[in-house]
């Protein structure tokens, strides 16, 4: 057991699944589901391994760090992998009901491919590998967005593709500069050899900008709402929940390990942009008339929270941001799925006409509501724990202005969530008629939302996992 390279399997299994789905399109759906279960098992195995034995490092092909490709799993990557597994399983179950046969043939291979890229990204230990996985991820994601067809989706996908390529290229240029300066790509080695020079600064600028563009930090969020809102529901879910988080993960890794320059000013800048994103995203979400657009702008706002950790920089703040990332992944996936159910049932997602539909889909609405609780950061939910940690970090560091942003963001979130929830309560009497939405789709959304809520009650475990391998440096917890 202990010797099995669970991490490598977590990458290879979905890749194999993608092949299988592609080769046997008639059985794509069950094959995909089986693969999803397998990946969850891999993630669990890796989790057990990491928890028991500490951070894991795999040398692929036995070459070792400077030349070969290394995979590295510490608490941070493990958590990302696990949340991907949980959300991925949910999305797989949901998708098995969502797509008709024709679309499913295209969806499953792409989705498995994307999952593989994601897992590889979270396990990559060198910055060029990160580039490759980032590109793979981007291409798969763009193709998935385009799956919906129609002018909106295609334009959104095109825009997304261009942005994604631009961001990746900027990142790659940074990689080139770093390699030139230090002659290595491995993150751990880079961290050892790092010393400030103009080339490093340029690299940092390029890489950060590229990743920020891909993470859609305000004001670079322009591509996100159209792409996320026009994609099919499960794709929106995985884009908002997982794909944007991947580039944030890289930024976090670089920031924590590779660039340990105490760039206080830059941290404040990112924090400011994050704050602007929180407020702007919240306001725009409130202004939307379509449900999926609302959720997409909510993602913009929630991504802003993640950047509030940068100016704080303490262990607690990183924990908070990461916890927000986890709970947002779950909650946002649930939200998009619920929106997908509503869209599927009613044929539209105009918020003002939701009442009739919302009445008939109590489970989806419950999922939306529970996910909303986490998005708002109300207890008991993962969002609350995250917000609490961020607030605590802000209070401890004396930077009380971030407290105001956190609170205002929560209020805005409450406003836009309840704008939707309110429609569930109308005088219309519930009628029993055949549902167009399969039960799996409703339950997938509800279960993910419940997990997001549950994250608020089991916080000590994920927080303990985060500490494995000390991704946030040696600072003591708490």
């Amino acid at each position: 057991m202990a010797a099995i390279p669970w991490g490598v399997m977590a990458i290879l299994l979905p890749l194999a699944g993608a092949m299988a789905c592609f080769l046997s399109p008639r059985r794509a759906s069950p094959l995909g589901l089986i693969t999803a279960l397998g990946v969850v098992a891999c993630a669990a195995g890796l989790g057990w391994q990491v928890a028991e034995q500490g951070a894991q490092r795999y040398a692929i092909g036995g070459w070792g760090a400077p030349l070969g490709i290394d995979l590295y799993a510490d608490g941070l990557s493990l958590l990302m992998l696990m949340v991907t597994a949980v959300v991925g399983l949910g999305i797989s179950v949901y998708s098995s009901g969502y797509f008709n046969r024709e679309k499913a043939v295209n969806f499953w291979p792409l989705w498995m491919f994307l999952w593989s890229a994601l897992n590889a990204l979270f396990l990559s230990a060198d910055i060029f590998n990160l580039y490759v996985t980032l590109e793979l991820l981007g291409l798969a994601a763009v193709a998935l967005v385009a799956l919906a067809g129609g002018a909106d989706a295609l334009t959104g996908a095109m825009r997304y593709l261009l942005v994604s390529l631009l961001g990746s290229l900027a990142y790659l240029l940074g990689v080139a500069l770093l390699y030139h300066s230090f002659g290595c790509l491995d993150i751990a080695l880079l961290a050892e050899r790092m010393e400030p020079s103009p080339a490093v600064m340029a690299a940092m600028g390029l890489m950060s900008a590229g990743l920020l563009l891909k993470t859609a930090l305000f004001p670079l969020h322009f591509w996100l709402p159209p792409a996320h809102a026009s994609a099919p529901a499960p794709v929106s879910a995985l884009l908002s929940a997982l794909v944007v988080k991947a580039s944030f993960y890289i930024l976090l890794r670089l920031w924590l390990d590779v660039f340990p320059v105490t760039a206080a000013g830059l941290g404040q800048l990112l924090g400011l942009l994050g704050a602007a994103a929180v407020l702007w995203g919240g306001l725009q979400a409130l202004r939307q008339t379509r449900l999926k657009m609302l959720i997409a702008y909510s993602t913009v706002a929630q991504l802003g929270y993640l950047f509030l950790a940068f100016p704080l920089g303490s262990n607690v703040a990183w924990q908070g941001a990461l916890y927000l990332l986890l709970s947002h992944a779950l909650a946002k996936a649930a939200m998009f799925m619920a929106a997908g159910n509503i869209l599927c049932f009613g044929g539209h997602d105009r918020i003002a006409d939701l009442d009739r539909v919302a009445q008939r889909l109590p489970l989806s609405l419950a999922a939306f509501g529970l996910a909303g609780v986490s998005i708002m950061g109300l207890p008991p939910s993962g969002g609350f724990i995250a917000k609490w940690l961020l607030l605590e970090a802000a209070m401890r560091s004396g930077q009380w202005w971030w407290v105001i942003i956190l609170i205002l963001g929560g209020l805005l979130a409450a406003a836009y969530v309840f704008k939707v929830i309110g429609y569930a309560f109308t005088q219309a009497v519930m009628t029993h008629e055949a549902r167009a939405v399969p039960a799996t789709m409703e339950w997938a959304a509800l279960v993910l939302a419940l997990v997001a809520i549950l994250l608020g009650l089991v916080a000590p475990w994920p927080l303990a996992l985060m500490e494995i391998g000390l991704p946030f440096g040696g600072e003591a917890a708490g």
Binding site: R159, L166, A170, P196, P198, V200, M201, A202, M204, G205, L206, S208, A209, G210, L212, L213, P219, L220, H221, F222, W223, P226, F259, V261, T262, A263, A264, G265, L266, L269, W280, L283, Q284, R287
Partner: protein
């Protein structure tokens, strides 16, 4: 051996009996006040009086402590309250008979319930041995009596009831304050203890004035007598009969029991009260002549009598020794006042019913009141105009202002416009470039500085 065993046993039985008896005096009428419990009984009002009659027949001083009731209260009967109880029983029995007799039909539920509740209050107040109990029972008596005045009546009794109710609330407030002051001074709220303790407290004046004002309102002592003529004019015979024996008597009793007269020397206040009493008597005589309405005669007689009482009380305050010597006469006075007013009221009603004397009512036929009965209305109107009306109006105008502000949609346009601007490709990518440069600059600056 037998006596040794027997003696405490008898005492225990006695104790149990006295508890049951004393509790049933207010308890039985309270139970009967529920319409469902008396629906099968004939003469429920009379039955309700039975425990009191039995208690009167017990020839000894009985008292019990009920620590679990309210804030820990007690009930008991002594020589003075025995007289009062006797008076009450007689009056209540008469009133109960009147309530049924004239038309031969039983009174309606609402009226009977009010009657019984008032009965509970008045008997309980007489038996109460501490201030809280007295206060509770007298309040019940007051509200019950309000019901008696108003029930089944037309506009005139309603008006009397309204005025009485207002008086009652004010009186209860004043008495509540007095009670608080007393409780602040001493833990044990028995009458004697409070009188004693308050007299020795640093500020007995506030307590005294609260008590006097409170009970003067309840008993209709001039100049706080507004409700008395109204009540006498409009009350039905049974209720008019009770007016002297219930609200007035209990009010005066309260004054005697609560006020630390005889313990305290207050010549100034005493003099003032004496003066007021004298003025009351004068007023009663004048007004009685002025408003030669036969029906109102008992009202002015009551004012006259309470004026006399006030003079006595004032004397007691000025000269404690005199009160200690003659103070017991107060109970006798109250009892005779109750009987006298009841007799007077009944006699006049009887006369009226017998002879119909419209001429005697002529001078006040228009129903207008002398000035001293008009000022409360004026105060209410004035207050309404000053404050209560303007508040909602202010709020309305403020809401209108907020509503107007909400109409401004400029900020919404601003939000939409800037988002569209942010979403333009060229602009967005330029921002991206800018961000890259700014990041480089920041990192450079901080690494060179740091």
């Amino acid at each position: 051996m037998g006596a040794f065993y027997h003696d405490p046993g008898i005492r225990a039985v006695n104790d149990v009996l006295s508890v049951i008896l004393l509790l049933s005096v207010p308890g039985l009428p309270l139970l009967l006040a529920f319409p469902a419990l008396r629906s099968r009984l004939s003469w429920p009002c009379h039955i309700a009086l039975l425990p009191a009659v039995v208690l009167l027949a017990v020839p000894e001083v009985v008292s019990i402590e009920v620590p679990w009731l309210l804030l820990g209260t007690g009930l008991g009967i002594d020589a003075a309250s025995r007289w009062l109880l006797a008076m009450s029983v007689v009056l209540w029995a008469a009133a109960a008979t009147l309530l049924h007799a004239p038309t031969g039909q039983p009174a309606d539920d609402c009226l009977t319930t009010c009657f019984l509740l008032t009965l509970v209050g008045s008997l309980g107040a007489i038996l109460a041995t501490d201030q809280v109990g007295f206060f509770a029972f007298s309040t019940l008596m007051g509200y019950g009596f309000y019901g008696l005045l108003v029930a089944g009546g037309d506009e005139a009794p309603r008006r009397a009831g309204r005025v009485y109710l207002g008086i009652l609330i004010l009186a209860d407030l004043a008495l509540f304050e007095a009670l608080l002051i007393a409780a602040e001074t001493i833990e044990d709220l028995g009458f004697e203890a409070v009188r004693h303790a308050v007299a020795r407290s640093p500020s007995p004046g506030l307590y005294l004035s609260m008590v006097l004002v409170g009970y003067a309102l309840k008993a209709g002592v001039w100049p706080l007598h507004f409700w008395l003529p109204l009540a006498f004019r409009s009350a039905r015979p049974a209720v008019a009969l009770l007016l002297g024996g219930v609200p007035i008597a209990i009010g005066l009793l309260g004054m005697v029991r609560w006020a630390p007269v005889g313990e305290i020397n207050f010549p100034d206040i005493g003099l003032i009260i004496q003066g007021l009493g004298l003025a009351a008597m004068l007023y009663a005589v004048l007004a009685g002549l002025e408003r030669a309405q036969l029906k109102l005669l008992p009202a002015y007689a009551a004012i006259l009598a309470t004026g006399l009482f006030a003079i006595a009380l004032g004397t007691g305050l000025a000269d404690p020794a005199a009160w200690n010597r003659y103070g017991d006469l107060a109970h006798v006075f109250i009892v005779s006042l109750g009987f006298g007013l009841a007799g007077l009221a009944t006699a006049i009603r009887w006369l009226e019913a017998r002879y119909h004397c419209p001429a005697m009512l002529a001078r006040q036929a228009d129903g207008s009141n002398p000035w001293f009965e008009r000022w409360p209305g004026a105060v209410v109107r004035w207050a309404a105009r000053m404050g209560f009306d303007t508040l909602p109006r202010l709020r309305a105008s403020w809401l209108a202002e907020v509503g107007r502000l909400r109409q401004v949609r400029a900020w919404k346009r601003m939000l939409d416009g800037s988002e569209r601007f942010l979403q333009r490709w060229t602009f967005a990518i330029t921002l991206f470039l800018l961000l890259g440069m700014v990041v480089v600059a920041f990192v450079g600056a901080s690494s060179w500085i740091g």
